[in-house]
Amino acid sequence: MPITPTTNGGLELLCDSKKIHNVNIEQQNGEGKLIMKDLLSWVRTNLIKERPEMFMKGDTVRPGVLVLVNDCDWELSGQLDTSLEEKDVVVFISTLHGG
């Protein structure tokens, strides 16, 4: 399934400084469904090249990271259980504190 995870707010530094990732992910089960939990572990394995603790804590993202599915906070769509569809844009962004 073609999908576009994007890493911003400093998280791109964990991915060879690449922000936009056009990838194709195989469905994780027989139902042909992909949920955010699957994507998260796929990103953790395939895109994060260093300091994975700056991306995840336990089975979800670390504190201070917002997750947006098609420009909408994943808290509004079921977090780890959010279903993904083809061409969805998923943004992982670290909150900034500078000024």
Partner: protein, 286 residues
Amino acid sequence: SSYPTNGLTQDMIHRYSRHLMLPSFGVEGQANLLKSSILVVGAGGLGASALLYFAAAGVGRLGIVDHDVVELNNMHRQVIHTEAYVGKPKVKSAGAACRSVNSSIEVVEHQEALRTSNALEILSKYDIIVDATDNAPTRYLISDCCVVLGKPLVSGAALGMEGQLTVYNYKGGPCYRCLFPLPPPRTACQSCAEGGVLGVVPGIIGCLQALEAIKIAAAVGEPLSGRMLLLDALSGRIRIVKIRGRSTHCEACGENATFTQQKFREFDYEKFTETPLRVPPLKLNL
């Protein structure tokens, strides 16, 4: 003349005429703005542009909190300060600049760092709070104080080539802790002094903070509450995304929250975030 002038003097009518003729702002919007008070915490990169536009627009009482002095390496982004003020307190420099743009408003200088011991007293004197600071513990401190006092908070941040902006604690919307109940790891919190920042990026975010605070003060338009603006300056992309609403479980503003003024005064923000309220700058060796 038969137009209502809501107590505006002839000088004000002249100065703010381009606001007054706007159907969606008008005399009422300007009168609201002149009656309002806004506090900007931080006279750095974000505060620089926000303060200039607040002063010019005619915010009735404009407060500035900062404990720092102007340094030469601030000047690539903190355009409110001139070289003549290097080594002098930022509140003095910013206050003078605001008055030179508009001598008809009240400008109040708070030359001190914001702490749990002084925040309630300072913030309670203003209608709207603007977070233009540069570190995680102060951001939690300001948000909690706004929740306790029931003040809207216009929050901006900038680092590197990116910026972020939202409005917290506005008419039942989320607070900072609703979004970030747990602090990020210390190593995820770079300041501009540590990580660098393209000067115009906080300039853009500071202007957008001024816009949002002016909309709230003038009671016009739809403030950026429940939404967050994300700027990626390098690629020229801006997203405005929908974020969660108020969390029922939020420790500061949730249904069963017990976050009182007393609890705020005793909360240890440095321990909570494992970060000092004042970040010592790293030296760049070239």
